[in-house]
């Protein structure tokens, strides 16, 4: 196809505009490419001289920081297992059984999940957790996230299961399988990609969250990385830049890895509401 001069100019203009916007988006993050590897990093951009892993060594030697990563992992994995298991079962029931009021349940779920945000519900969540005596425990954080993320997870999975023909399980049951067998042996393997999406989505959400653990936890040795990162501030409130940079990078890695995994596996075109 031949382009006229004007069209060519427009194309160049579009590319230039896109490039400028891209650069503006990258600007606040460029600092992270250099600072973690610079033993004398400050808040300004500076090419490390020499490049070093010393900051990472200091982080690895900091028990509280490493404990934070472990706590993040405990809370994320715990929350993800609960969300994925409960959402799969529930979505399957909503899709395959003829419980009366199914569409009503879905409607109410969607409504409440968007109305009861963490922001609006921080007081009652605090009070509920404290009245059942779970204040300052991993399990409190896990349960609160599981409850909060479940409606969306169920919705994603229900859509997914609705798209799978019922005939798979029907033929298994004609061949003598019980409904439960049909679920575990026939349906579950087919639903797996949908579950992977929910797992990644829930993990990224819990791993990155700040407000809920910030409110529900008190002890230092339970804090996830998102809260523990504030230990890298001196008593005067000034950040210890070198450690913060290295720790931020380590803490971001799982999220970046999962993003790359999803875009490689599913093609990251569009992903519903990957964020709550």
């Amino acid at each position: 196809m031949r382009l006229s001069f004007g069209q060519l100019l427009a194309r160049i203009g579009f590319s230039a505009l896109a490039a400028i916007i891209g650069i503006l988006f990258a600007l606040p993050l460029i600092w992270f490419i250099f600072a973690p590897f610079n033993a004398r990093a400050e808040l300004g951009i500076a090419i490390p001289d020499p490049w070093t892993l010393q900051n990472f060594m200091t982080v690895f030697g900091n028990g509280f920081a490493m404990r934070g990563l472990l706590n993040s992992l405990i809370q994320s994995v715990g929350g993800v297992i609960l969300v994925a298991a409960a959402a799969t079962l529930a979505a399957y029931a909503l899709s395959r059984s003829s419980i009366p009021g199914k569409s009503m349940i879905t409607y109410i779920l969607l409504l409440f999940s968007s109305v009861v945000s963490g922001t609006a519900a921080m007081v009652p969540i605090f009070l509920i957790v404290s009245s059942v005596g779970l204040m300052d425990t991993h399990i409190a954080v896990i349960l609160v996230f599981a409850g909060g993320l479940l409606p969306t997870a169920m919705f994603i999975l229900r859509d997914f299961i609705d798209g799978i023909p019922k005939t798979y399980e029907e033929s298994a049951m004609v061949a003598g399988a019980s409904p439960v067998q049909a679920f575990f042996d026939v349906a579950l393997p087919v639903i797996r990609p949908g579950i992977v999406v929910v797992v990644v989505w829930a993990f990224v959400n819990i791993w990155g969250s700040f407000l809920i653990p910030f409110i529900l936890l008190r002890s230092d040795d339970l804090m996830p990385s998102s809260v523990a990162i504030y230990s890298f501030y001196s008593e005067a409130g000034t950040p210890i830049v070198t450690l913060l940079a290295a720790y931020s990078l380590i803490y971001s890695l799982p999220v970046v890895a999962l993003y790359l995994f999803v875009s490689w596996k599913f093609g990251f075109r569009f992903f519903g509401g990957i964020k709550a």
Partner: protein, 304 residues
């Protein structure tokens, strides 16, 4: 076999639903009713009224809407107006327009450039909020920050923007942070338009702006409405600016979410905090109902 044969009996279905129902019931439905209840009491975090709160009726609400202090900085009304401006500017104008522009540009630019730009925009969106908060703290630093380095390099005056223009900082920050969602939604919306429409316009010699105005935008109208409602709700509830500004300086960036946190967990006034929560939920409810009724209409249109 009966026509409405279902794979799960009612009993098995109920058993499958039970774990999710329990979790959602306790941590989503119960808080909804509990917060309304607490908002009518003078419950505090500490002290006598922590265990035996009194019923105070609408006192908390009267306090929030007290006309004498309503518009004062650090009070409810100020925070509500600030949040409205924040949503209008950073979500409806910033994220939506920038996302639309990016998605449209993505249709024509070379794939390699597209991938690079997308990576930068999506990185802003997926990284954990505390990391993003710290990145911006470094970016905006007066002495060494990247932004002031660039401004000085261009011969422009440097500024301590977190102190001088905190509101505009969080508006731009939130636009930057969330534009990826709108971009991706509009990207997939544009991708669903048959290419032949645009090819026909090309043959007729239409400019990019004409194609956008007469073909692209009208055909993704439904997606635009979806996007606007979703980002409005998310931005309205966002807590991330707290990490950047702590609500300050002197309450100038205290969004409703941050105001609620301060009242409940710094001033320990749970009753008043709950009343703020109830108002946030009412506003959420209004948006959710609009969204759901819109979705239903669309589903009906598809069925017909």
């Amino acid at each position: 076999m009966k026509k409405n044969f279902s794979l799960l009996s009612h009993r098995a279905g109920a058993a499958f639903l039970a774990p999710a129902a329990a979790l959602v019931g306790v941590f989503v439905l119960l808080p909804f009713f509990w917060v309304i209840f607490v908002s009518f009491t003078n419950r505090t975090l500490l002290g006598k009224t922590a265990l035996n709160p009194d019923f105070v009726g609408l006192a908390n609400y009267f306090q929030l809407f007290d006309p004498a202090t309503f518009f004062t900085r650090g009070q409810f009304g100020f925070s509500l107006i600030l949040t409205t401006q924040f949503v209008l500017l950073s979500a409806l104008v910033g994220q939506a327009l920038l996302g639309l522009l990016l998605a449209w540009l993505m249709q024509t630019i070379p794939p390699a450039l597209k991938r690079i730009v997308e990576t930068a925009v999506i990185a802003a969106w997926i990284l954990p909020e505390v990391v993003i908060g710290f990145a911006w703290f470094a970016f905006l630093d007066y002495d060494n920050g990247t932004l002031n380095m660039i401004l000085r390099g261009l011969g422009l005056p440097a500024g301590d923007f977190l102190l001088q223009q905190p509101f505009w900082v969080i508006v731009i920050f939130n636009t930057w942070r969330g534009a990826a969602f709108s971009m991706m939604l509009f990207n997939s919306a544009f991708a669903s338009i048959p290419p032949s429409y645009f090819q026909a316009a090309d043959v007729a010699g239409a400019s990019s702006w004409q194609k956008f105005r007469d073909i692209g935008l009208p055909l993704i109208r439904g997606h635009v409405v979806t996007d606007l409602i979703l980002i409005t709700m998310w931005t309205f509830n966002v807590f991330t600016p707290f990490i950047l500004t702590n609500g300050g300086p002197s309450y100038r960036t205290e969004l409703l979410s941050i105001y609620n946190y301060r009242i409940a967990f710094r001033e320990f006034d749970f009753g008043k905090g709950a009343a703020v929560g109830v108002i946030i939920m009412l506003i959420n409810l209004a948006f959710a109902l609009i969204y759901l009724s819109f979705g239903r209409k669309k589903a009906k249109a598809v069925q017909e």
